[in-house]
């Protein structure tokens, strides 16, 4: 019983850390974007202000049950992902749930939220929402291919399908997988562009085009929950990448440095790129990233 309480407490702490870090990263992204565009930009805590404002905003209307539940779906996914990904190796305050974080399970639980959210967006009846959802799903089909290829390459090379297994491999050999399986890393990073939906892959939100897409009918508290879920999700995904390719992290500072560096790749790529069309984006993912995925698999088969 104590253990369970301990775990729950740890989960709450993990969540708070993820929330704070994710929000800060968001703010930093805006700042960096502004600097790249020769602007001063908002302060790095701007996202917290926005979130707080959204939370304090009145939310008077809804369009039905699925609309109400959409944010909850998203939050569940974020938290589940966070709980399954080992945040800090061997640290009791950041437990993973009592089983191995299995990669395939993770891949699927990660789609749970966006689909639930999409249902919420669908019920609002806004055409922009539906367009955004289909774009998002199409893009997902695009980037999941290189992403899965890189994961499969790791799995077959090291004969394990769990994250902890891959972390153990790195701990034992002493080298990060991004060095020993460079192609897998490249493919995964390219897939990451799609995952974080920064420009040129921001076709889902597409502010001037789709009126922010799926979230267009969500204001106030809905948007607050989505924003927090997004932040947590961002952190969870970054942690997953760090665990898989950068040997995990033993303390929070190292984790922050690694995740931040990783995060900058899509952000910096994004601020200098215009937006793709949907089919262009999908095809982009089936081009070079998939090629690197193939290379990763070939390497894995050779080194198996």
């Amino acid at each position: 019983m104590e253990e369970v309480l301990y775990n729950i407490l740890g989960a709450v702490v993990t969540f708070i850390v993820a929330f704070v870090v994710g929000m800060t990263y968001g703010g930093l992204t805006r700042k960096i974007t502004a600097r790249v565009q020769n602007r001063k930009g908002p302060p790095f805590y701007q996202n917290f202000i926005d979130a707080f404002k959204l939370a304090s905003k009145k939310t008077a209307i809804h369009h039905g049950v699925m609309h109400l539940m959409g944010p909850a779906f998203l939050m569940v996914t974020s938290v589940m992902t966070l709980l399954i990904v080992p945040v800090l190796a061997g640290n009791n305050w950041f437990p993973n749930l009592n089983f191995h974080g299995d990669l395939i399970f993770l891949l699927y639980i990660m789609t749970f939220g966006p689909l639930g959210m999409a249902l919420g967006a669908g019920q609002t009846g806004n055409p922009n929402s539906a367009i955004g959802v289909t774009r998002g799903l199409s893009q997902m089909v695009g980037f999941e291919i290189p992403w899965v290829m890189s994961l499969v390459a790791l799995m077959i090379q090291y004969h394990t399908t769990s994250i902890t297994g891959l972390m153990e491999v790195q701990a034992q050999s002493g080298t990060w997988l991004m060095l020993s399986s460079p192609f897998a890393f490249i493919a995964a990073v390219m897939a990451m562009f799609g995952m974080f939906r920064y420009s040129p892959f921001d076709i889902v939100g597409a502010p001037t085009e789709l009126a922010s897409g799926p979230v267009s009918e969500n204001g106030g508290k809905f948007l607050f929950v989505m924003m927090s879920a997004g932040s947590v999700f961002t952190f969870a995904k970054l942690t997953l990448y760090v665990d898989l390719f950068m040997g995990g992290a033993s303390n929070l500072v190292v984790l922050l440095i690694k995740t931040f560096l990783l995060y900058m790749i899509p952000v910096l790529y994004g601020v200098t790129s215009p937006r793709y069309r949907t089919e262009q984006a999908v095809r982009w993912f089936w081009g070079w990233p998939t090629f690197f995925g193939f290379l990763a698999i070939i390497q894995a088969v050779i080194l198996k």
Binding site: H63, L97, Y108, T111, G125, L137, G142, I145, V282
Partner: protein, 615 residues
């Protein structure tokens, strides 16, 4: 073994009686129909024991009916889904014409599928197979719509498959001189290599046709969407599983003993993967729910075939588990479409929108089955998908797993399209009158949703029978028991414990539900979907803003080069060529007496000239 005779007698008698009862009283007909499906089901599960068989003989051929754990599993699918679909059909068929025809064929289909499962000899297997084919064919043409194309295509493909199987059967018979499956398995080891290769191929063609495998799947979309939905749930859920049943039987008992069997498996697995991908892409393109689900069925069967074809224990478990799940969720989905069709009169996404508040239970059932179909935890579909991927990865199918994953991810598009098209989007005045379907239609759907949920957390309930069945078939693998009641393993030792996942999902979900939704629900009120941000424009009452035409166009543009090649077209070209040839043949008979006389003379002369060669 009286039970078998009684069961089949009830089926047959019930079918005929039900047909004629329609002339007397509609309600009596319904009761008879239900009785003639449910009573045999009860008798079967209470009265039939494993290992006992009923031998008898017909036309000098000894036949044998019996059941083992493997066939029991499929009997469970057939009778379970059959009973639920029968209950559903009562509601569905209310007020429709040709009720007797429908009931008759429904009962015959259930009977024939059970017959296939209990047949321990090839002849009764084939007879029931053909009864299944024509009874389902009669259902496909039930609507009388497009039958010269769709119906005949279905029957021709089925017939090609069935005749291939028949050829296999008689070849086996010419060697063993009995029709028992047991004897075929015994004798297989002593056959010549050529026969060892050809006999499985002949059988697999038949099963591949029924399981809608590429490139023999072209009948499926039309047939599934043309049959009445109450039957299609059975058609797609159980009838297509008969192909899987036979396939596993052949793969395990025959092919696994062949050194070259690995090629069979690879080819089948790849065909299954391609089927999944192609089916998914075409499902994405459809604007009609029936067609969408039909292609989706093709795709799902692709997964199942891949699972059973790779042939490791995990793969077999995955394939058969997915088969059970597919019966559940695709059955439910077709039922949901049937309910919507009954209530609104159409199944086109571009016409219907916003039914969620009108048909909440149907929506719930559809949502559950879609989640299961997409393979998202915590429902049962995930377990099957997980095992499939793990089995593919652990058995070194690296590229196949990518293909399957592609199909599965792209599947989200049509999953969402289905839910969005019917239930979400703008609520329209046109559909304001729509009510929830009657209880007889809703209850089976909800029941099946519950099963899906249970199987998602405790897959062991069904994995154990699957495992027993595989053992009964003589399936040998070095890894034993890769499952527990709520844990799934792969053979590298990685595992997922399902219970805590479910609990944590439910806990977190409830937490946020209460925190956000409930709090929000109290403070908020419902507004119609006309009240959306449309740049200030006020949508008119009859104006539908739902985005439903060309829903997945961007994605389809991305995959356009693949979609351009349709297998159906090649078949059509081939058929056209054949018809041309036949036309030429027909012209041999000129209708001219002189020509005929000439033929006679030429015949006699030629035969006389070549008499030394001929005689």
């Amino acid at each position: 073994m009286e039970t078998y005779s009684i069961i089949f007698a009830i089926f047959l008698g019930g079918a005929v009686l039900t047909y004629f009862a329609g002339k007397l009283n509609s309600i009596l007909q319904d009761i008879l129909f239900l009785g003639s499906v449910l009573v045999p089901t009860y008798l079967f599960f209470s009265g039939v024991s494993f290992g006992s068989a009923m031998p008898f003989s017909l036309e000098g051929i000894s036949l044998l009916w019996g059941i083992d754990h493997y066939s029991w599993l499929f009997a469970l699918i057939v009778l379970g889904l059959g009973s639920l679909a029968a209950v559903y059909a009562i509601g569905y068929m209310k007020g429709k014409e040709r009720k007797g025809y429908f009931y008759f064929n429904f009962i015959l289909s259930v009977m024939s599928m059970l017959g296939i499962v209990v047949s321990q000899d090839l002849i009764s297997f084939f007879i029931f197979w053909e009864i299944m084919t024509w009874s389902s064919y009669l259902m496909v043409i039930y609507n009388g719509k497009d039958i010269q194309r769709v119906g005949i295509k279905y029957f021709v493909f089925s017939a090609i498959g069935a005749y291939a199987m028949l050829m296999g059967i008689v070849i086996v018979h010419s060697i063993t001189h009995t029709f028992f499956i047991e004897d075929m398995i015994q004798a297989y080891g002593h056959m010549s290599l050529q026969l060892q290769i050809w006999i499985p191929i002949l059988f697999l063609i038949a099963f591949a046709v029924k399981a809608a495998m590429m490139p023999l799947h072209v009948w499926a979309p039309g047939a599934y969407s043309n049959a009445p939905m109450a039957y299609t749930s059975l058609f797609s859920g159980a009838l297509s599983k008969m192909g899987v049943y036979g396939m596993v039987l052949i793969l395990v008992t025959l092919v696994s003993r062949l050194p070259q069997g690995i090629w069979f498996r690879e080819v089948l697995a790849w065909l299954g993967g391609i089927t999944a991908a192609v089916g998914t892409l075409w499902a994405i393109k459809q604007d009609d729910a029936k067609k969408l689900l039909a292609y989706s069925s093709v795709a799902q069967l692709g997964y199942i075939i891949t699972g059973v074809a790779i042939g490791t224990e995990l793969g077999m478990l995955a394939g058969l588990f997915l088969a059970v799940m597919h019966a559940l969720f695709k059955g439910t989905l077709f039922m949901a479409v049937g309910a919507i069709e009954k209530q609104t009169g159409t199944t086109n996404f571009t016409e219907i929108t916003g039914l969620i508040r009108k048909m909440p239970w149907t929506f719930l059932a559809s949502l559950m089955s879609i989640i299961a179909l997409a393979g998202i935890p915590p429902l049962g579909g995930f377990v099957g998908k997980w095992m499939l991927y793990e089995s593919l990865i652990t058995s070194d199918h690296y590229l196949l797993v990518i293909l399957i994953f592609f199909a599965s991810t792209a599947g989200f598009l049509y999953c969402y399209k289905f839910l969005f098209g019917f239930f979400l989007g703008q609520e329209e005045k046109e559909w304001e009158h729509v009510k929830e379907a009657p209880a007889t239609m809703v209850v089976p759907m909800i029941l099946m949703s519950v099963f899906m949920f249970v199987l998602g957390t405790f897959p062991g309930i069904i994995l154990k029978p699957i495992n027993n069945g595989l053992m009964d078939l003589g399936f040998v693998d070095s890894y034993k028991h890769l499952w527990e009641t709520s844990v799934i393993f792969n053979n590298w030792g990685d595992h997922v414990i399902l219970q805590p996942i479910l609990y944590s999902i439910i806990a977190i979900f409830l937490f946020f539900l209460i925190l956000v939704v409930w709090k929000g629900y109290k403070g908020t009120r419902y507004v119609t979907t006309k009240d959306i941000s449309t740049s200030g424009e006020v949508p008119k009452e009859d104006e539908n803003l739902t985005f439903s035409v060309g829903f997945t166009q961007p994605f389809l543009r991305a995959v356009a080069p693949v979609m351009r090649r349709q297998i159906d077209k090649y078949y059509t070209e081939f058929a056209k060529g054949l018809e041309g040839l036949f036309e030429f043949m027909r012209r041999i008979y000129t209708g001219n007496a002189q020509t005929y006389a000439l033929y006679v003379v030429v015949f006699v002369v030629i035969v006389l000239l070549f008499k030394d060669v001929l005689f």
